[in-house]
Amino acid sequence: MGTDLWGTTAIVGVGETDYVRGSDRHVCDLILDAAMDAITDAGLKPADINGIIPPPGYMSTEEIAAHLGVPDVAYHVSVLMGGASPTASLQTAAMAIAGGLADNVLVCMGWNGYSALRPKPDARPTKRVMNLGPMGETVRNHYAPYGLMSAAQHYSLYLRRYVETFGIPEDAAAAVAIACRNHAQLNSKALMRGAPLSRADYDAAPFIAEPLRKFDCCVETDCATAVVVTSLERARDLVHPAVVYLGGAEGHPEPADEIANRANLLELGIHRAAPRAFARAGVSPHDIDVLEIYDCFTYVVLLQLEALGYAEPGGAPAFVANGNIELGGRFPLNTHGGLLSQGHCWGLNHVVEATRQLRGTADAQVTDAELALVTGYGDLGDGSVAILGRDR
């Protein structure tokens, strides 16, 4: 199976809503709009879809199929790894296709990440919520009673350790925040288009949970995204150039369900996923042309770059310096603006952007991009990696 799986499937359709704060659309409408856009983008009809991976919460496969008009769901599965879910879902979609369980698989994500906490006064109420999955129990029992409710607070437990162990300067986090914001200026759908970020702005912003300042944290957004995965063979008959899923992996820290008792607080799921993903895709970190790195928080980007092999532990600050991760640099990072500045769609927006880069149709296009790497990061440090390439 291994040799029949990697490089035999492709992303053929992408869809996304606008990224906004305060949507007039119900969360279900966002998810269904993105899903229909992805199917249409692929040149397919809902009846062609027979595999569905729904978002972690909000909507079920059964509902999505019924509202889209998908008559025969042959395979579905839910992936519950928080923000690592969408990128990990690609390997599940590929397995279903390579194993003959499904032909065309829809992966979707969407939420009212801004409005859920701050509904407009006239908004119709919704009881739909995310599925917190494995971290719900730990936060409820062990973190929230200590005043740690938000992801920024939970992750700061190991980001503090990271910063102090290696003497990570704020310059490094600022470089990530500013690169993402610069790229958002070029992206037609980015929430933060038109709102550039200077180093002075970054420095002047208050702390949320140390070392995280305001601009180290991603933007809460109402949005949805979706992709369609199919076999490479079928992909070659469809409208867009096939974007091949060359390899991917997931990984979990030990233990995955809580942070405190990990032998190494700085060893996350991606440290285990990254070598698996590169081996499966048959490429090395320095073959990659575009990096779409899960950027819930800037310092989490730095840790992931080290896990991926772009720097030694503690060496990410040098990697992100001197424009290396800006458009035009050697490793352009989050060319759509990322979760930090395009909007937070749980990293499926990173998959959408990587697909556009490899089609050659991105708003901030990397010249001759042939290989893109996407990561996901979620819950209490779960990780996922996807390596995508142009069809040759």
């Binding site: 929230a144 200590y146 102090e164 208050p206 140390e210």
Partner: protein, 150 residues
Amino acid sequence: MRTYVPTPEWIVLDWHHACIAAELLCIQRCTGCGRWRHPPRRFCPACQSDQATFEPVTGSGSVLSFAVSHRSLDPGWQAHAPYATLLVELDEGPRLLAATTTPPGEIRIGQRLAVRTEALSENFVLVWADPASHDEPTSMAPRARGNPHD
């Protein structure tokens, strides 16, 4: 000031009940091989035994890391922002979070700590940790700086 107090269940509840009964911090210990472990688990990862007890620990440990929150969704904690939450490594080995009355600027990784528990309900104890110092008068009780659970 309202502050969230959970109602634990299953073996987490057993842990809280053990701490309340002993009026001390207790930690799960494997009957098979003697290893300490936290949070409570059904099987020992070293010897797979499911026989374990909750035993009092010395209450001594050190700061492995800490969070400094400048805002909180919890009104009780928000009133004390910025506040630190300590990731404590007990001398017995297991680690756990602890609230502290020590100002964030006075906390250092590696600092020695003394841990105590406070029952907030019949089913929940909060763990507190503050620097173990022989210089401080004993009247420097944790509540002196304000307890978000007051």
